[in-house]
Symmetry: C2
Subunit: 191 residues, 2 copies
DNA sequence: ATTTAAAGTTACACCTGTGTCACTTTGGGT
DNA sequence: ACCCAAAGTGACACAGGTGTAACTTTAAAT
């Protein structure tokens, strides 16, 4: 190495995350990022071709972290335990799922690297889906899940629900508890 | 009137809706809108000062339509009937709620007209909330709702759930049915 | 037929983000 | 001490969106 770096890739990702949450996909620019990293715009181009590539690499990075946590779901044997664990890791870093949705805005490109990233991300999603599929299968075997509701809706529902904005800043523990209850039993009175 | 208009306000709103859904808030531009209306960009400035004003007026317009439907919820007397009706009108035009979320991106402005629009929209939201509050009250009185879940979460949950993307294009009727079931009873097996 | 005012067009100046490239700085290897 | 390659900077040309204002078109009113 010839010269000390002023910023690490991790710092880029961390700042990117915050800026994406604060300014949204289109509001996020290399100028903004450069300012926050206290570095010139040109420097970032040394590592990322453009905004799309940076964001998709960030998402891949985050997705890998999430997947490594998700895979440990199999250390639990019952559906209820797995469900608890799943909710915990999702809510642990629930902004990620908001950002994943922001990332949908990334326009398709014919750039080779972009295509490669897209492919990798699709594979990661597939991994995630496969793992979750097993979780659902277990739930169905244990007859804990409503057989009239298809797998895809169950998963969509879980990820959608954890995105409910906590406007009134209900304490984290209470919030998680409510989430679990509402996902399992809806809004109706179980009595 | 001195000359026939080439486009109506309704056409603007209809096109705006579609473009917002297709391109998102930042991807939506006056040039794009003008092209789709087959009109020059300048013409639109005759009616709307800028993109923010146009969108907030569109949202107000849509919100009023929704509210006029929502208020008819009181023609139903039981919670179950009201719930059915609510789900029907929400899912009837569920893109609206996605757009309402897009509209959150509109930056605050100190422009007078903008402030006025913001205020009006806040009032409409308040109206909506008040009506829905009564719906929830009825549900609690009938003991149909889980008393441990706060009002705000119930409402957030309903609006969040109807946004689940129907990726697999489940037929409308089936989809609505699943939505109702999952909102009331969650994913668990009620047996 | 002429007038008039609203509707629409066009061109201009401006701003902001993009991507690139020649340049400078830095610090480890020889 | 010197070299050199990686790290970082600054300036440039470019692209696209913005808002405005002078201009043209159109049709209703007189």
């Amino acid at each position: 190495m010839a010269r000390e770096r002023k910023f690490t890739t991790e710092e880029v990702f961390e700042t990117t995350k915050q800026l994406l949450l604060d300014y949204g996909y289109e509001g996020f620019t290399f100028s903004l990022l450069a300012n926050h990293l206290k570095v010139s715009r040109g420097a970032i181009y040394k590592y990322f071709e453009n905004k799309e590539e940076l964001i998709s690499e960030y998402i891949i990075y985050q997705m890998k972290v999430f997947l490594s946590q998700l895979e440990r779901i199999n250390t639990y044997t019952t559906f209820d335990e797995q469900f608890e664990y799943l909710m915990d890791i999702i809510l642990n870093d629930y902004e990620l799922h908001r950002i994943r949705r922001i990332a949908i805005d990334i326009p398709a490109s014919d750039n080779a690297k972009e295509k490669e990233n897209k492919k990798q991300l699709d594979n990661l999603h597939l991994d995630m889906y496969t793992t979750l599929q097993q979780f659902i299968k277990l739930g169905r075997e244990e007859k804990r899940l409503n057989p009239r509701i298809p797998d895809s809706l169950i998963l969509g529902f879980i990820f959608q629900t954890v995105d409910i904005p906590n406007h009134y800043n209900v304490p984290r523990e209470d919030w998680i508890k409510s989430m679990k209850e509402i996902i399992m039993n809806g809004i109706s009175n179980s009595n």
